[in-house]
């Protein structure tokens, strides 16, 4: 059995495509077998919603009269600094940006109540954002100061551009030390008091296409409640991470860089997020449709939580000191059960990724496709796979010689 994306799109246009979520496909394949289901199902939809720090947005605010060159100047959006190393009216705000006067971790753990992720959420929600800019002034851009409200509806372009999202698997965080620690994977109690995990497991996009056989550059996706595209592999893309026999990575592996029109997104799927003692970020909702082009592709999408493994890492020592040690390897089925036995201790688990919202994303994408509102796109280039030899390198630190 093989089919093409073009054939699937013809069925979508006729309202005849058979679409199921990455959760529904598991039992379907168990009941009917790969061969039969591969003939019946055209598309499997995936979803994930979690904090994704390498997210941001760029926009063009339009030219003021007289003109001001924001490039090389300073710009604050609701007191959060934006990146201005661009042309006169273009800005980029990153999810992790913090106001200059945020106390950060001066009193540990800092609360990080408002940052770049919150600016993006409020912008998407249609709220006015204050913009305060200072510039050096030039003959063609004479103005040196600008204070105004901006609103997404008035911006020329507002684009979500996340350079690393949708991690294919991720560390499970533990704390072996004697004090509570505050990490990007949440609050971790001492002496293995809890462990936190952060992917949607069997629903997560890249865990359903472990070798990137359908997801590539140009793949059209659900992004932040609107549509977007895979722009490139994400930073730290690491296809050569360890994999289990079913091909699924058991560590952080592939990543996606994604892009989409912020004007069509929704704050339900882009949520400003505060990690106690760590910083600000943006919780992003992403869903990727997987065309069932063959039985092999179908088999990958039928992966279940019990077949996806992840490494438990000590965030009090191994992680901060870049040591390779792992505490244990556990399956997502174990993690999702709420308790895992590690080193003879019954340890409660918590998720930082919302499985219920991931389900909602996969369900929404399914409805869009069934209703003929969302056609699949053919990737224009593949993501680097194992054959690329790429794996994420540590920093080669070298002294600066005067």
């Amino acid at each position: 059995m093989t089919r093409t994306i073009g054939e699937i799109n013809e069925k979508i246009k006729l309202g005849k495509a058979v679409v199921v979520t990455a959760e529904e496909i598991i039992d379907l394949v168990r009941e009917k077998g790969l061969q039969k289901v591969a003939r019946e199902v055209d598309v499997v939809t995936t979803g994930t919603l979690g904090p994704m720090c390498s997210s941001g947005a760029y926009f063009n605010i339009g030219h003021s009269k007289p003109r001001i060159k924001l490039g090389g100047g300073r710009v604050y959006l609701n007191d959060v600094p934006a990146y201005t190393g661009l042309a006169a009216a273009d800005l980029f705000v990153g999810a992790g940006a913090l106001p200059d006067d945020d106390p950060r971790n001066r009193v540990h753990p800092g609360e990080f109540n408002y940052g770049g992720g919150h600016v993006i959420e409020e912008l998407v929600a249609g709220k006015d954002i204050s913009l305060v800019a200072t510039a050096y002034g030039t003959d063609c851009y004479p103005r040196k100061r600008l204070e105004t409200l901006i609103n997404i509806k008035d911006l020329n372009e507002a684009v979500l551009f996340n350079i690393r999202n949708a991690y294919q698997n991720y560390n499970v965080a533990a704390n072996l030390s004697k004090r509570t620690i505050y990490t990007y994977l949440g609050v971790l109690k001492p002496n293995l008091g809890n462990i936190n995990y952060a992917t949607a497991g069997q629903l997560s996009p890249l865990l359903n296409d472990p070798y990137y056989k359908t997801i590539g550059i140009g793949t059209k996706i659900f992004l932040g409640g609107g549509t977007g595209y895979v722009a490139w592999q994400g930073t730290q893309h690491s296809p050569n991470a360890p994999r289990t026999d079913n091909g699924v990575p058991s560590r952080g592996a592939g990543t996606l860089a994604v892009i989409g029109d912020l004007k069509h997104m929704n704050p339900r799927w882009l949520v400003g997020t505060s990690m106690l003692g760590y910083g600000c970020t943006l919780t992003v909702g992403i869903g990727v449709p997987i065309p069932i082009l063959s039985e092999e592709i179908l088999r990958y999408t039928a992966v279940s939580d019990s077949e996806i493994m992840a490494a438990v890492i000590d965030y009090s020592d191994a992680y901060p000191n870049l040591k390779p040690d792992i505490v244990a390897e556990v399956s997502y089925a174990q993690l999702r059960s709420g308790r895992v036995n590690i080193q003879g201790k019954d340890v409660p688990t918590a998720s930082l990724s919302s499985y219920s919202r991931a389900l909602e994303i996969a369900g929404t994408l399914k409805t869009w496709i069934e209703n003929g509102e969302f056609l699949l796109s053919e990737p224009v280039a593949p993501l680097p796979g194992i054959e690329s030899g790429i794996s994420c390198k540590p920093l080669n630190e070298r002294p600066i010689e005067e």
Binding site: P109, G186, L276, T283, T349, A350, L352, S354
Partner: protein
């Protein structure tokens, strides 16, 4: 009829240094369990109590506390989940010391069982989207 209720007591500055709570036992035959207390001399005090006893004694005891100048609130109203902000991620599940956040095995959503909440406030800043709010 026996009752067990969790309440928040707010002590105004002028009575912070007076022994009041012990009289619940002595005069009204009530059992209490201190769930949380903040007291600073010369400032306001706050105490979260679980009180057990007969309804009649409970009513008298509350009446006594109110007459002493203490403001009383029911605890369940104190920590509230902003349903619009909650993403049901589950970061709160292992943070809550009383297990008030429970993953629903069917919907995969996180239920907030506020009858278990002791208003300790640990979930307020541990919640990534800041969906938990302390209402006074």
């Amino acid at each position: 009829m026996a009752v067990a209720k969790k309440i928040v007591l707010r002590f105004p500055k002028r009575i912070v240094d007076r022994p009041i709570v012990y009289r619940l036992v002595k005069d009204f035959d009530l059992e209490f369990n201190i769930l949380k207390a903040f007291f600073t001399p010369e400032e306001e005090g706050l105490m979260v109590l679980e009180i057990r006893g007969r309804q009649e004694d409970y009513d008298k005891g509350i009446n006594y506390l109110t007459k002493s100048g203490i403001k009383i609130q029911s605890l369940s109203q104190d920590v509230v989940r902003n349903e619009d902000r909650c993403t049901h991620c589950g970061a709160c599940v292992t943070i809550c010391p009383t297990g008030a956040f429970v993953l629903d095995p069917v919907t995969k959503k996180i239920n907030f069982e506020d009858d278990k909440c002791i208003a300790c406030g640990q979930c307020i800043t541990a919640c990534p989207p800041r969906a938990m709010e302390l209402h006074f």
